[in-house]
Symmetry: C2
Subunit: 455 residues, 2 copies
């Protein structure tokens, strides 16, 4: 069979090394989330398309993976319904389900469906796969993980502060230096107001969002293309040039947004968040950045974006406050705030910085060489004892040549190899080879346990 | 909006309580697997349909969830290709991908694709979702988890013994009493041979497999329907009535299968496995059961099935030895042995026996009541200190009425509530309410930390 079997483009296999590294990231975030009282939920991979369609814009609808109805999906379909120029109407009939596109919409559906079982404020995290029929490219996959943490049902700015703490805690544990950029959509609304462009708020946020990538000149150019006058652009310009500390920027904004009630509200919110951040001594990693806009229209208050300072890469975490998550599903007025950790990028950062922990307890610590049936029994007993002490242990299953067995230990990076042949079994003293140093030791089983525990 | 949004039938949302319980099961099996040197892998949810089709029989092909090609899937399709009577040919053109149906076939594909990166014998585990367009019913879902552990590239029976150890270890930790039924397909082949029905081996295994459910008489009746003669059935009957210990049964079989080389080989394998099981003092939970057949045709040696003894439910774990996992993908001669844990049934068993651990560290231990802005800062500092000690802690985000905050603690089953008002902040002595006993204590922050650690 010469045929080559591969996986669909944009999807990935995860090898053991990749899994252990990925689990290191997920275990870290889960631990932090649970320290702050967040609890996990999961929703199905498939949702009804009626739940998903129309929630991500026209472009998003196209990127949904749709699942063919099971059974004879063509039954009852007339030839007149099949139009290769416009497959949309047929799609609706032959595909009722789709794979989830993000975690936010299914979460909103979950909250509405389970509203009577949920204790509000509801602090949940969710780490699951999502799918997008996007063009695959470096670092962009069709099947990838999202890792969201949200608290809903509370307006308090304490939640924003807590998310900053969580970000600091997660990246502290991952040993990644970061800067947390903060802004408030009400401040942006204030700027639009001051510039007399309240009706073009979305255009303004889109242009500001790009500033980082395309530079000031081009971003202002885009505004002009969108119909902003020279005078309007001139009013916006000073805001893009603010400097100073968090507090200095807030004071500057207070002066320049005094004409906008919404703007002043945004500043007050930022000040309240900042007071607590300062109390927690987290102000050094936080930055008030007025050019941070976050494209998504549903954000209404504080917005966050996190960048790694030691590696050139896009944002590794981001999110914000939204005032109406569940309105689309018939439950209006539920406010929340949440962030999403970019697991794939965090993986790349840790790899680039070589900061994955070297010694991982998920891998085998001790391998017993297999010399044959008689020795096997001795090793079986001893291996059980090591495992009872929490030491991951293997017995090589076949009495293969010693060279092959040592190669196995080497490739699996097992640090200790025990040679228990006839002599060792007779004397009760094991020959133990340290694979890193090449050194051989003579240890009793008890000494081996202690040696494993100490190293 | 009166519309009701639900999830596709046969799928499930997992609430926090369900997640914490499920994670207890998964964390336990993962820990055991890694103690024995197994490493995790993951494969994509989607596979190319060319990888999946034809691997699960005609019925299986129908149960695959197929994903509509993205973009205009109808482009280039002529009306003559659309036949509502026979949608198969169209399906091939409009759906190239499908959701995985089990973990075995994708694992085989993985091994072939990554054969040069893998260290053999390859000990891997895999816990992932699979999908089947089956008719949903109680306990049977269209989207569910499989939890497989296999070692491939080794013929040694030590692997079979290790899987028995793993089963004992997993269910020991989960506090579920089990019996492990063992058999060997070579013994079954021997019985078919002795009965003169070597050509109807599959019919024999199917009938034996049902014996448990439909009883001896009906099972033998099925054999007759399949063309087994009275004389053949009479030769098979004694095998279904074996009694005695594991060793007694082996000896009985040796006498009755002496005419079948294959049968004797199966007995020798079982004896070899049993010697080690006995040495490990696991024989009390193991049973040689000649009526265990396991339907799947790819098993060739030892087969396993695990039942809980305290609850009436189907098997909660099962598997066996196969001699040609990867042949379908062009890599012949790779032998392996593996088992699969039934997470959903294990969940049901633990629930029925009320054996989920009550105190779960993933949930909040301490809640600080929110009295307002001034008190918040004090609580923020103290909560950070508790979290640094590994104690999951929340501050209620809003200065709501005390009653509402206490209700939150109650519903989230948070055991300790700290009331730090003006007096407490002044004196440095916290009022701490034990939510289980209703008792109030006065503790310094240091005493609170110690109290949490001790309880």
């Amino acid at each position: 069979m010469g045929e080559k079997f591969t996986i669909p483009k944009g999807t990935r296999d995860f090898t053991p090394v990749e899994m252990i590294r990925r689990n290191f990231i997920f275990d870290t975030v889960k631990k932090v989330f649970s320290h702050y009282g967040y609890v996990p939920i999961e929703t199905p991979a498939m949702e009804n398309l009626s739940t998903l369609m129309g929630k991500y814009g026209e472009e998003g609808d196209k990127l949904l993976f749709k699942i063919l109805n099971s059974g004879n999906y063509l039954a009852g379909i007339g030839p007149e319904e099949i139009n290769p120029e416009n497959p949309g109407p047929l799609t609706q009939k032959i595909a009722e389900k789709g794979l989830k596109y993000d975690l936010t919409v299914p979460f909103a559906r979950f909250v509405v469906q389970h509203q009577n079982e949920i204790t509000f404020p509801f602090k949940r995290y969710q780490i699951q796969t999502v799918w997008r029929a996007d063009k695959p490219q470096k670092g962009r996959y069709r099947e990838f993980f999202q890792c969201d943490v949200d608290v809903i049902g509370s307006h308090s700015l304490m939640n924003e502060v807590e998310l900053v703490q969580i970000i600091a805690d997660v990246f502290g544990r991952l040993d990644i230096r970061v800067v947390i950029r903060l802004n408030n959509r009400k401040i942006l609304a204030g700027i639009a107001e001051i510039a007399g462009a309240r009706d073009r708020f979305t255009d303004l946020t889109i242009a500001l969002d790009k500033l980082d990538k395309i530079g000031l000149e081009k971003a202002l150019g885009e505004l002009k293309e969108k119909g902003f006058t020279e005078a309007e652009v001139e009013k916006i310009m000073p805001f893009t040039a603010i400097t100073g500390t968090f507090e200095e920027r807030l004071r500057w904004l207070e002066g320049h947004l005094s004409g906008s009630e919404t703007g002043l509200k945004g500043i007050a919110e930022m000040r309240s968040v900042f007071t607590r951040i300062k109390f927690l001594r987290l102000e050094e990693i936080c930055e008030l950045d007025i050019t941070l806009a976050r494209g998504l229209n549903y954000y209404t208050g504080t917005i966050f974006e996190v960048k790694a300072t030691e590696v050139e890469i896009g944002s590794i975490c981001g999110g914000g406050r939204y005032d109406d998550l569940t309105g689309i599903f018939g439950l209006p007025g539920v406010s929340g705030v949440g962030i999403s950790f970019g697991a794939d990028r965090i993986y790349d950062v840790l790899l680039a910085l070589n900061r994955f922990p070297g010694h991982d307890t998920a891998t085998t610590r001790v391998l017993f060489v297999n010399f044959g049936e008689k020795e096997e029994l001795f090793c079986l007993g001893l291996a059980s004892r090591l495992r009872e002490e929490g030491i991951s242990t293997e017995i090589y299953p076949d009495p293969d040549k010693l060279k092959k067995q040592m190669k196995y230990a080497d490739q699996k990076q097992i640090p200790l190899v025990v040679l228990a042949g006839e002599n060792e079994i007779g004397s009760g003293i094991l020959t133990v080879k340290n694979m890193k140093t090449g050194e051989q030791m003579n240890l009793t089983p008890g000494q081996l346990v202690n040696f494993c525990k100490e190293t």
